[in-house]
Symmetry: C2
Subunit: 381 residues, 2 copies
Amino acid sequence: MNTMIYLDNAATTYPKPDSVYQVMDDANRNLAVNSGRGSYKVAREATELISDVRSKLLELVHGVNGEKAVITTSATNSLQIILHGIRFEKGDVVYVSPYEHNAVARNLEVLRKYKGIEIEEIPLVEESLDIDLDKFKYMMTRKPAKCVCCTHVSNVTGYILPVKEIFEMSHGCGAVNILDASQSFGLLEIDAKSSNADFIVFAGHKTLYGPFGASGFIDVNGIELESVLAGGTGSNSTNLDMPQESPNRYEAGSTNIIALAGLNEALRVLDQAGNYSHEKELTNYLVDKLRDIDGVTLYLPDDVEKHIGVVSFNVEGYTSEEVGMILDEDYDIAVRTGYHCAPYIHKYIKDKDTLGTVRIGLGLFNTKYEIDVLVEAVREI
Amino acid sequence: MNTMIYLDNAATTYPKPDSVYQVMDDANRNLAVNSGRGSYKVAREATELISDVRSKLLELVHGVNGEKAVITTSATNSLQIILHGIRFEKGDVVYVSPYEHNAVARNLEVLRKYKGIEIEEIPLVEESLDIDLDKFKYMMTRKPAKCVCCTHVSNVTGYILPVKEIFEMSHGCGAVNILDASQSFGLLEIDAKSSNADFIVFAGHKTLYGPFGASGFIDVNGIELESVLAGGTGSNSTNLDMPQESPNRYEAGSTNIIALAGLNEALRVLDQAGNYSHEKELTNYLVDKLRDIDGVTLYLPDDVEKHIGVVSFNVEGYTSEEVGMILDEDYDIAVRTGYHCAPYIHKYIKDKDTLGTVRIGLGLFNTKYEIDVLVEAVREI
């Protein structure tokens, strides 16, 4: 374990700050009760911790206008709650960026099949793989959006999407804007109000350096969703409807207080600006080195400023999986290979011959030395 | 903390076996990667652990006939996946026991509103609060069930429901049978095949003594549900549909490997028969003592053999919450008060004047001494 070079931070960041582990072990031993509306001290302590996490999350996105922080078990769970909660009608048009994850795409496919929504892809500029804002604008005049789903950072190429501009257009026509910030929350600056997003989804175990099991979304404008994914809330038990108010309306079942304690600590020690500089520096360093190697194809946005954390590539003559296996077996380097749960983007980046890409996901605890080892390994392949 | 007497084990068992904490801390530090279909060693180790958990779960229910163990984040999440996945049509009748939790009831209410299902309560014998099997049989001849939801043990009264008999009847007419074993899995003997259940839901953090975040259900007969709650599965990424096969079909998003490591250890050290004897002995001991106190009303099944783990009561002249507060503040005893997320049963047990019940949830680590302290406290109120 100790010698492994971990470069799969886009799947989940690892390791976490040591204090996150300590706090979780402590919570496990001393706080792991069912918060609910507890009639005893530890249950109330657990409830306070949840409220503390909400405050920190809102602070991070400058949420001072009544935004709510909803706690869920994963970014996928957040997207299920939001997407299945929108009151879609047959024929409603949902725009997605081609960079979306299956957490968005597969739920929309369910809604297409059973509710008859239409799914439209926001177009890209073929050469740069940038979002084509002009074409999107034109499409929107012909088919206005009921909803727009956009990831902030591509988990395949590391491209930072112009989400503010996209959402500004769709906001104008009254669409529900969903920002998937799984790869950016805690890394890139997000201002809830000026983002033009209605819902901002985050994954606690990724760029926030918390554990699995503590994720959620920011409910920016209080758009009321149907609470389709229902269950006990510890409140108003004899009412068969979920509570009216956000965030409780969307939080069914026991809260994972251990994971939340970890997220709380992760948020406490988070240095967003510092993490950004470190990751940006490593990203540039890695890209520069990989560019120098013959036979390596990189999948990058044109503009280096629109790129962070994720670097996808392939090596001539190998499938992505073969490269991943060599890196693992011969060098103890952990990377991810394949299609990365992103169904749409591969027709643009044309990586089907290699069965996807080799993906490097950089994180807070990676070093230039580790990148040197990786680059040397790739050179030797 | 150390002096607290914890009697809220029906909400979540606490503490857990010490080795569960140790294994989780270790997993957090050394295994907390994204299992997926990993191309590196630790990811494969994580995948093996998941498969290990599945085997242990199936072993517990004697699943040797192709049953599948599906991993979810909570029992509520399991019920959402199952209930929203059934291909209901307008007018379909779903029978529920009056002992159901809101994890069942509120999701059915959503389906009633949006899909037009009909919800029927299985009747009780008024005096004993037992399921009235004869009446149920009669009702079924008039309105056959499309689906039957039944909890194994009431989280309000500790009543053990005759689930096998109920499901035998509904099985005959082709209904989908859902057993909510949140309060019994790992405590009462469950045999997957002879239970007549199609889906058996469990909560890892309750009678299994695992942590929050690792729950699931046993897919007994492979009835294919719509995979409404979709997301990434790390497999077949360019396919917009969830995989065809159970369990993967129902498992969207990153697996909480830390919680699963805890559940794996909890399952390893689980002594179902031992836990049952201990809890049954404590339950009887508590009931006998509380029966002796004037002004205490108990909410119990007639037959002591149909009862385990949960004891609900009220004290004359006090609401349940007042009793809970006194127990907490003056005696450092943690109990739950109110309606316990069970919406239907209160019209039968008639506890609305006291705003629900004071609920004692017994667990593996409770002692007769703790019960003596509780009983003395109740006597003093």
